[in-house]
Symmetry: C2
Subunit: 339 residues, 2 copies
Amino acid sequence: MGKRIGTRTVRLERPPAVLGFAAVGGHMEGKGPLREQFDEISEDHFWGQKTWEQGESTMQKHALRKALEKATLHEEEIDYVFAGDLLNQCIGSSFSLRDSNIPFYGLYGACSTMGESLSLAAMMIDGGFAERTAALTSSHFCTAERQYRMPVPYGSQRTPTAQWTATAAGCCILGEEGGGPYVTHITAGKIVDMGIADPNNMGAAMAPAAHNTLSVLFRDTRTKPADYDLIVTGDLGKLGHDIVVDLFAKEGVDMTKNYDDCGLLLFDREGQDMHCGGSGCGCSASVLCGYLLRGMREKKWNKILFAPTGALLSPTSSYQGESIPGICHAVILSNERGE
Amino acid sequence: MGKRIGTRTVRLERPPAVLGFAAVGGHMEGKGPLREQFDEISEDHFWGQKTWEQGESTMQKHALRKALEKATLHEEEIDYVFAGDLLNQCIGSSFSLRDSNIPFYGLYGACSTMGESLSLAAMMIDGGFAERTAALTSSHFCTAERQYRMPVPYGSQRTPTAQWTATAAGCCILGEEGGGPYVTHITAGKIVDMGIADPNNMGAAMAPAAHNTLSVLFRDTRTKPADYDLIVTGDLGKLGHDIVVDLFAKEGVDMTKNYDDCGLLLFDREGQDMHCGGSGCGCSASVLCGYLLRGMREKKWNKILFAPTGALLSPTSSYQGESIPGICHAVILSNERGE
């Protein structure tokens, strides 16, 4: 059973262990610097299906299946899956789990969904409601472009502040007991909206939410950036990342040593012409469930602060002139289980 | 800390108490049989805003504010809000909570969202992660029609099996201690898809999911329909309700005595020309947070099984010929806190 510490943070009393994890990605992800960290790369962006949406669901299925395989578990051994994606009515998740028998709680946290799903999946175990849970999210460049901007075949030009939605999915399976890493702390996000209304500049819209959640986490846990081997936000991209560094610098907090962003890690921004970097639920999910958790298992890092961010807009809200509400859910992962 | 019983059910060890609840609705809801059960009825379906979407967010704000008032609580005393709605990217919820400081977990469970949010809100308390939580959902006839079917001004004719999306919101606040009713058991939904692909017949698509979750709940808790004063599904409407009765009848289980549906309760089907009944996240939310919880406080019923259902489709999935995945999340509410 968890203990609330400070205003928005929970310290898990028996930190749940990561039992298995898997990342799957598409063509561009396979050309990027993390290509070796994926469990599966598909050159076919339909994933053998007839539509991109079906392809996205298939990606999620593969991520879940691979994570189960790596944890040597069967689907029946998972008590709950927390899943979400960017598609209208979250069909990426509901269709990926249509043939499964795992009890399902659907989430929507935009690109922060991997943080939200991991938080709830961990609390369900520490609260005694589950032995094993799964956190699962995805995004797909072609489904997202069609839904949020323009159909891909139109070949619309992208603005310099735009990010590239990752075609990727990640799945992380947690359990009561296991070798780790462990989820030790969770800081829930709250909505922060500083009035930015440009849907092609989501990094700037989400950066204040990341700053808010990270500040609260540092205060609640009485830690500072240097206490982590790595701090990673999800999908702020170049501009958002730099804003977070600036916001902390103004408060005398140095984030220049060990702070990175999943949107900057996934692609080679210059070589792959990605403008501000990657984005989408699948970006932070696949970076976590590939590069980051592998690196923790290999002791490259022992303590990571994973803080994916979401822009809670829709095309309708943008057409109506609304600004972009941001949110950031943070999770501390450690190779030490602690008390 | 909860105890898992059977395959998909959790028995809460210290059942969280309902501290406050509120239902708000629109014009049609104010003409229906439950008009006296609402805390607020607005004749203005814009709720004083410029767009229907902003109106829906405003409805959610009002439901949260009224529920807090009735519980004599302030926003700062709520540790987490679990909220969702039907709009693309769930903007009904994210914009309603934009000005609030409550940590926010966004959900998507279509019309089952009130069951999902109540489940997670209760487990967060029983697990020791929160003292007080809120479950909040909404739907709006005009935003839903525009998004799922046709803009309202077109005046499209509705099929006989169609349901009417409620313009309503409901909020329920839970806490560690209080006078009740109490959330005693939770059965998580799993996706059930029997191949029905007609988006104008969602009751039939969701009925097998309701039958599945209710069957599991009866088995896991070793109860039968007669052990409840009232069993209420959410938004199956006339056709779906009758299918559930039939499915149980085939197994020799009598559901004819005490089983109703939020979609049948909210409107006068004949008098209001509602075809199969009401639907939308706001339907089961407002029926629960008005009629049902009031009735429990007045001892009209002492034990209710609340089981809202969701159709996890999108217009895109329907255009692509997909069938409709259904889900049902069930919660037992009791005036007796139990062991």
